[in-house]
């Protein structure tokens, strides 16, 4: 008979227990009656017949019990009994529950919170059809390897069309380009973030619209009507969730577009923390298919089924090798295939791993605390179990009872933990979005997956805890337990071992967390006080985007006089504002932008690599910046030699550039850089000045080579403006905004904040990790302190009699109390040594998660293994241990030997 059938029978029986009981009763009675009838028939007196029937049948209750066992329904009865008993016990010793339930809830809840963040950011499948087959293709040389930081090196249209024409590894290849669209639907013009998408974009991603349709082939064409697909967020937030949104016209860049579809929420997480609001079709004409100038394309592709991304990479390598062979002068670079999930997750898993380790330790500390309390209680209940065993209770029955008990309080803790996790998630969500490395955080919520996780953790904990009291029960010596009651002087060695193990492990976990917290906090504070190399005081920064519709499309190497005039006008207008000392314009804002690297070729020297091919390796490359003449003065950067940009550096003059000292050191060592010609970004330029190094990427990196061009020689599509004020820059904000609106009312002023805040924001990952780990460390330390206290005071309670005897024999009370403190100290020292060793091992991991690798790091940071942090943390915990054992030790001083020996 199948297991299924049997389970079904069992379930049916369990569901109608009372009926089963009743039927059993009826059946046995009818058996007895029939027997009695037969006996009477045979001539036995009714009285005697009934007696004999009873005897022959055997014990009615025993038979019933055996029958229940035969059907396996006995366990239900037992569990419901235990459940009632467990609840009664909890009610009786409510203080036990009051301590264990919140402690466990904290541990489980913290773990669940991190789990739900990891689930949203990493484990949840991407909102695409078969996301495993999706890849990004970046233009460049080199290879992506799993575990690498993801690359962001955009492509040019010609590369896209070249791949499309030649490769066979992909089902289809498409691309998108970020664009800022001027939305003039409402009264005020707003700039929204959109994507210009090439054909087959939605086919590659394979996500359907939740209303209307996605883009289709007929939308792409020179004369196709203007259509757009909008995001769910745009529909609900900007268009008021208009039910008649399909077919509605919106004005984008002053042209009317028809909305044809709304994408589902969460589509699509293009990069960490950045969601597009609308998609417009981009039709490429023949000329564009050979465009090798316009960067900024982000290609996406779906792999042919059965093709791995590594195979696709091999094919792209072959294609580029052939290209180089056939057209040595061609400018088409190779492609780097990066799986979509790896691209989106990047290295964020490291931060989550660190948090998971920290929270895991907190969880263990919480568990050890509870385990210790359970153990102590088991000793108190030893007699109860002994009596039950002596009365014939089977071991399984007692184990079942213990399990029911631990389930009861674990369940309470688990339910509380869901609340803790929900609150913790809210806190994390408030902190983490500033750390732009975690993708898809908007989907963090209390969901089924998280409940399952919490539930299984709870179950695991209760299973483990039900075995703790079993350690205490000496099965074969139940009579000893009964006999010995009141005569045991102190706990046996093995039992003390276990408690000592608890103390040591609490010490280890909390010490490791404390050291991590101290390391991260110290590194952070130190970094915060690092000087960036320029004067950030009174600097106000904001961004102005020149909408394409008014100021033309940006193409590399080509400039638009409209944009140029705009920037000049802005510079002039702002410098006239009273209180503004100088105005800097730059394409990139320090500490806010990615490394914009280009290979460097020094004229008159053999090229180390083909300079026309962009290379992502930082070895041979320099950062590139476009700035106005006032830039260095505004930032207070010193000139080392040569000159700053001047008014005569117009685009007609030959390209001139200023480099920093790092550039000079790296590419022109032991030479005078002034007047040298270098090729950067495919253009020749002459160095006219050298400025002092200052930090431009992040505070914890040493300055890298940078080359600065005059902004006028190439006008970027948007600029960052930095104004140096005489006093607090924030006060100037509104005036500056008004001035910009005077220049052009359609120019949005974005992300206005003081430079100090920009710097602070660039440290947010470090701040958040230091805060979170610190918080976890504090919680763990508090729990550990409480745990050590409870172990020590319990130990004193157990050794009361022994100590009473010692005192009675004339031992100094102080010495006896010293025994307690001494034990705490001894355990503390063992724990400190172990904890320091573990912290030394994972301290490296922790700091490298948050800070960059040591090769790139400046000498200031990070302090992965500062001995001071270790010693201070260990000493702190030792003091805590002594403090925690002080109160129990004081109790020793009050022991009255007579009472101690007599009581119980």
């Amino acid at each position: 008979m199948s297991l299924w059938h049997r389970s079904w029978n069992w379930l049916r029986d369990v569901c109608r227990l009372s009926r089963v009981e009743h039927e059993m009763d009826l059946e046995f009675r009818s058996h007895l009656d029939a027997y009695v009838d037969d006996l009477i028939h045979a001539g036995v007196s009714p009285e005697e017949a009934r007696r004999r029937a009873r005897i022959d049948f055997g014990s009615l209750e025993q038979t019933k019990d055996d029958c229940r066992n035969a059907r396996g329904i006995n366990i239900v009865e037992a569990v419901s009994q235990d459940l009632r008993y467990a609840l009664r016990i909890q009610r009786r010793s409510w203080s036990f529950a009051a301590v264990t339930v919140p402690t466990l809830a904290l541990g489980i809840g913290a773990a669940a919170a991190i789990f739900s963040v990891a689930k949203a950011a990493i484990f949840n499948p991407l909102p695409f059809h078969e996301p495993a087959n999706l890849v990004h293709i970046w233009e460049g040389h080199g290879h992506y390897q799993r575990g690498d930081e993801a690359y962001f090196s955009s492509a040019r249209p010609a590369a896209l069309y070249n791949w499309r024409a030649q490769s066979h590894s992909f089902k289809n290849i498409t691309a998108y380009r970020w664009r800022s669209v001027l939305l003039t639907d409402n009264k005020q013009a707003e700039l929204v973030s959109g994507q210009d998408v090439y054909d087959e974009f939605f086919e590659v991603l394979g996500t359907a619209a939740c209303r209307g349709r996605t883009l289709q082939a007929s939308d792409y064409g020179a004369n196709s009507p203007h259509v757009t697909v909008i995001s769910y967020a745009m529909w609900t937030k900007r268009l008021g969730a208009d039910p008649a949104v399909i077919g509605r016209q919106v004005s984008l860049d002053r042209e009317s577009y028809e909305i044809v579809g709304v994408m589902p929420p969460g589509f699509f997480p293009a990069s960490a923390g950045r969601y597009p609001e609308l998609w417009t079709p981009h039709w490429a004409n023949e000329a564009e298919k050979e465009d090798l100038k316009t960067w900024g394309l982000i290609p996406l592709a779906r792999l042919e089924s059965g093709v791995t991304w590594q195979q696709a990479q091999t094919e792209l390598d072959l294609i580029s090798a052939h290209m180089i062979q056939d057209h040595p002068d061609s400018d088409i670079a190779g492609g780097i295939v990066v799986p979509m999930d790896a691209q989106l997750i990047g290295s964020s898993w490291k931060l989550l791993l660190l948090l998971a380790i920290a929270v895991g330790m907190l969880f263990l500390v919480a568990c050890v605390n509870v385990a210790n309390l359970l153990l102590a209680r088991a000793v108190d209940r030893e007699r109860e179990f002994a009596i039950r065993t002596a009365l014939g209770a089977r071991r399984t029955r007692i184990v079942l009872q213990l399990f029911t008990e631990s389930i009861v309080f674990s369940l309470a803790a688990g339910m509380l933990a869901v609340g803790v996790a929900a609150a913790a998630d809210r806190g994390l969500l408030a902190m983490l979005p500033r750390v732009a490395i975690l993708p898809r955080l908007n989907s963090v919520k209390v969901d089924f997956g998280m409940l399952v996780f919490t539930g299984s953790l709870t179950l695991l904990v209760s299973l483990a805890f039900c075995f703790i009291p079993l350690l205490r029960i000496s099965w074969n010596r139940e009579y000893d337990a009964l006999k010995n009651e009141g005569r045991v002087f102190s706990a046996t060695k093995s039992k003390r071992r276990l408690r000592q193990l608890f103390v040591v492990s609490e010490f280890v976990f909390s010490l490791v967390l404390l050291i991590l917290g101290v390391l991260l906090t110290r590194s952070f504070v130190k970094l915060q006080h690092t000087h960036p190399g320029f004067n950030a005081n009174n600097l106000l920064t904001f961004r102005v985007i020149a909408p394409e519709v008014n100021y033309g499309k940006f193409t590399w190497g080509e400039k638009d006089p409209r944009r140029e005039r705009l920037y000049e006008k802005i510079e002039q207008v702002l410098s006239e504002v009273p209180g503004v000392e100088s105005v800097a314009l730059a394409a990139n804002l320090p500490f806010a932008q990615n490394f914009n690297a280009s290979p460097v070729l020094v004229t008159g020297r053999a090229p180390q690599l083909k300079a026309t091919r962009p290379n992502i390796s930082e070895e041979q490359s320099t950062g590139t910046q476009m700035v106005n003449p006032q830039y260095f003065r505004t930032l207070g950067v010193k000139l080392v030699s040569g000159r700053f940009f001047e008014e005569r550096d117009r685009e007609e003059a030959s390209h001139v550039a200023i480099v920093n000292e790092a550039f000079a050191r790296k590419f022109l060592p032991n030479e005078d850089p002034l007047g040298r010609e270098v090729t950067v970004w495919f253009a020749k330029t002459i160095i006219v000045g050298v400025v002092a190094d200052f930090k431009i990427i992040s505070l914890d990196r040493n300055p890298v080579p940078e080359i600065f061009w005059c902004l006028r020689q190439a006008s970027p599509p948007n600029v960052w403006i930095l104004t140096k004020g005489k006093s607090d820059p924030a006060a100037l904000g509104e005036t500056l905004r008004r001035k910009i609106q005077d220049v052009d009312p359609d120019l949005p002023v974005q992300e206005m904040q003081p430079m100090q805040d920009v710097i602070a924001d660039s440290l947010s990952l470090k701040r958040v990790s230091a805060t979170l780990i610190g918080l976890v460390a504090v919680l763990a330390t508090v729990l550990a302190g409480a745990g050590i206290y409870s172990v020590m005071s319990y130990s004193v309670r157990q050794r009361r009699k022994e100590m009473g005897i010692r005192i009675a024999f004339g031992a100094n009370r102080g010495d006896v109390a010293g025994l307690v403190v001494g034990e705490a100290c001894r355990l503390g020292v063992i724990g400190s040594i172990l904890g320091c060793a573990i912290a030394a091992m994972i301290g490296e991991l922790a700091t490298h998660t948050v800070y960059i690798s040591p090769e790139q790091a400046s000498s200031l940071t990070p302090e992965s293994l500062s001995p001071a942090a270790f010693i201070a943390s260990a000493l702190f915990l030792l003091v805590l241990a002594i403090a925690a054992s002080y109160a129990p030790a004081r109790d020793v001083l009050r022991i009255d030997p007579l009472l101690a020996l007599r009581d119980e």
């Binding site: 049997r6 069992w10 009818s30 029939a34 009838d37 055996d66 035969a70």
Partner: protein, 113 residues
């Protein structure tokens, strides 16, 4: 009563299956039937019949329904299920093989070894 045999371990199930294979019976009836077939030479241990019945029913070899006994009493009648029939057949087969083997062994004379 002295010449009654103790039931061999594990054979009660088989006897019950045999008893009900001859027609639906209630618990007391099964007891009587076994005694009758064995000509009172077997004794079913006290209190072991019902647990065995419940187990067999739980495993699906037999099933039960309420009916009326000869003397107008409500009684639970057990009958063999199709699966139980197969099981009984197999068990019988196995038993006779086993009995053969054991008998062969026990009857072996010294010179045959």
């Amino acid at each position: 009563m002295k010449n009654q045999l103790d039931l061999l371990q594990g054979t009660l199930d088989m006897l019950i299956l045999k008893a009900v294979s001859l027609g639906p019976l209630h618990g007391y009836g099964i007891l009587l039937r076994i005694q009758q077939i064995s000509k009172d030479r077997l004794e079913i241990p006290r209190g072991s019949l019902y647990p065995a019945l419940y187990r067999l029913e739980h495993q699906g070899w037999i099933s039960s329904e309420w009916g009326e006994s000869d003397n107008k009493r409500k009684a639970k009648y057990y009958h063999l299920t199709a699966a139980g029939g197969c099981k009984f057949h197999n068990e019988t087969e196995k038993w006779s093989q086993m009995a053969d083997v054991i008998e062969g062994i026990l009857r072996t004379r010294p010179e045959e070894v």
